[in-house]
Symmetry: none
Subunit: 210 residues, 4 copies
DNA sequence: AATGAATGAGGTTTCATTCAT
DNA sequence: TATGAATGAAACCTCATTCAT
């Protein structure tokens, strides 16, 4: 039935708009300042209505993260699919994919980062924690596949692909943590420069002689 | 008079014990779960007494962090002082200093990391934010000095010392973020392994041919 | 739509009932003893609900006062409107209006008196202080108009109407202060007698002809 | 013994200085803002020391008031003693005594006024309440004597002396309440003018001959 | 489906007062 | 005598969540 489908679609759109509203509020005021009231306001709905779409406040954010993470994973899979063509530039390519992805939707990226902290995770109910864990794990799986490919092709040094994935990805995230911190301190950001050097150092190593 | 000095000492010890108690609570339950009540309990004092030593809850943590950071900086200065003897192993030496420092008092390290998030920073009153900022800045200054030395000695590749400091330090922190997250997810940690590989990759580079 | 109007009306009634509850609590226990808890109890609501209607505790009282003062001013305006008929009895008429008004709702009168103390005023946030000031000022304006009329008509002695208003009104209030004090001391009140004499003394002096 | 007496005297002086400190704090910040801490600071003593001289915070103020009231009563008794010489100017003389007394030490006057409110009285423990009541009563006794004299001498109209005392005294106090309120509202005071008119109005009415 | 109204459960902070030295 | 240190008792306010319409 067309009607039923329309209903579904509308419902789905409404959910989506709530997620966007939540992210918007986070971006403007930070997690602490977020209240259901503010999300509702941003979504132009009433507080009570939010509960028709999500059971709890945390659920809203987890869903926002999941959808965002899925999107990221798809992007990584594309990188993997294009590995053959990239070859020597695989690391560089991956790194730029990170950057591009971050730049496209910083608020969502930051929420995701924020919820992946132990502090947040610990306070999540079991079911949400598991969902979050899965989404994180899948990212690493995709990354690991790429690493494994690079190692197999002799592009990357011999090493455990999973661990290598962690090293590269946490290097990237570490820089973002730092820059966010700088931003909050009202200090000048150096994102591009730091990323550039990080990539270089990861690529060729910090030590001059090897 | 000895009495006055004893008083001073006791007061200082009491402050210290409150800071420790706060860290302990954080370690066990996380920031969200912390209440003055719980800190008081852990310190075996009444809630009101805490306010004799610190004006607000955040102040407690900031002071804990400052004292911890100072300690770290001293450690870094020692590394700097011993640069000449280290020479080629400078990066390795630094990295192990990080690890050693982290291992010695994880809870304090984690609190520090936690408060350096934008989320926390944003919600700090001006004065505490500035204190926190200073302490962070000084760490980077010490690190930068070491980097500058390494670059000057031809041990490290030509690069901006400050940026290099950021790259190395955020690599380290990124891994800790990851491991904390794993811990919260009840997953198996690989700290040592990841650190090891990260050091290797930073040292020699990820790419096989250069 | 009728529904919307009903909602509005109910909301307004609920506000009113909270104001009444607050006054009731004040009357029974005095300002010091008042807590949001007690007001809530008296209004048969939860503490949190009160905050849906008023932002702070003081706001509750200020609104009670404002509505009461407005009412008083209307009453004074009626006296003014009827000045012509009253003529020689203007002062007496006014004085009985005071009494009647006081008698009708002592608790509200006393709250108003209480908040007009410097002590209370000083501790009010700017916005509430201004509201309170306005309401007080308007009372004096109405009174002054009446005085001006009386002076113009040659009923009252030549004098500054505003100042005359202050003299008469503070005479009345002074007596109430005294009686309240007696009441609190569990001593016998003499309100009627004192008022009577005060009026007499004021009359013989204020009236031009004797 | 001289030593014992010196001790007594010092103790008494110390008490006095605490009372003064309390009044000073009240004058600067108002009753709400007063804490034992602030009084102690103003008296250059420690908080605990205050309790060596006064059992509770309220006791401090009550004693300040009592001493001030006694002083006032003495002043009134002098007026009474000089009644014969004053004769026709008795009311005027009395009124100026009020003013002079008020002007000499406004803070003390205001504290006294403040504590004579029902709100304060109600929250006083039995014993202090009684002390306060006595002091107030004695003032009225003195005033009544003066009134009775005036009536007896045919200067004042025939009336109940006690009631007349109340009328005159509350007229005066009412004006002070008003002026304090104005002050707190940052509005221009008219104390002198209002007093002047009040006296005039009271005079022409109170005096038998006109 | 949408919402206005209501609430329970806390958390931070302040202060008068006590007590051991 | 003087005081530093400690505390119990409150009070205000916020917010996620539920419910009746």
């Amino acid at each position: 039935m067309g009607i039923k489908e329309r209903r579904e679609r509308e419902k789905s759109e409404r959910r989506e708009s709530i997620l966007k509203a939540a992210i918007r509020v986070y971006d403007k005021e930070g997690y602490h300042a977020i209240t259901m009231e503010k999300i509702a306001e941003a979504a132009e709905l009433s507080r009570a209505t939010l509960y028709l779409y999500f059971k709890t406040k945390d659920e809203i954010f987890i869903h926002a993260i999941l959808s965002y993470s899925d999107f990221f994973r798809e992007r990584l899979e594309k990188v993997y699919a294009g590995c053959a063509e990239t070859k020597d530039d695989l690391l560089k390519n991956l790194w730029f994919t990170f950057i591009e992805f971050y730049e496209k939707d910083r608020p969502s990226f930051n929420v995701t980062l924020y919820f992946h902290q132990s502090e947040m995770i610990r306070n999540l109910p079991e079911n949400l924690r598991i969902m979050l864990d899965h989404s994180g794990t899948r990212i690493y799986e995709s990354l690991s596949k790429i690493m494994a490919y690079g190692i197999g092709q002799g592009v990357f040094r011999e090493s455990n692909p999973k661990t290598l994935a962690e090293v590269v990805w946490t290097s990237f995230l570490g820089i973002i943590h730092l820059e966010n911190s700088k931003h909050a301190m009202s200090r000048k950001p150096h994102l591009a420069v730091t990323w550039q050097l990080a990539l270089e150092m990861l690529s060729k190593g910090i030590l001059k002689s090897h």
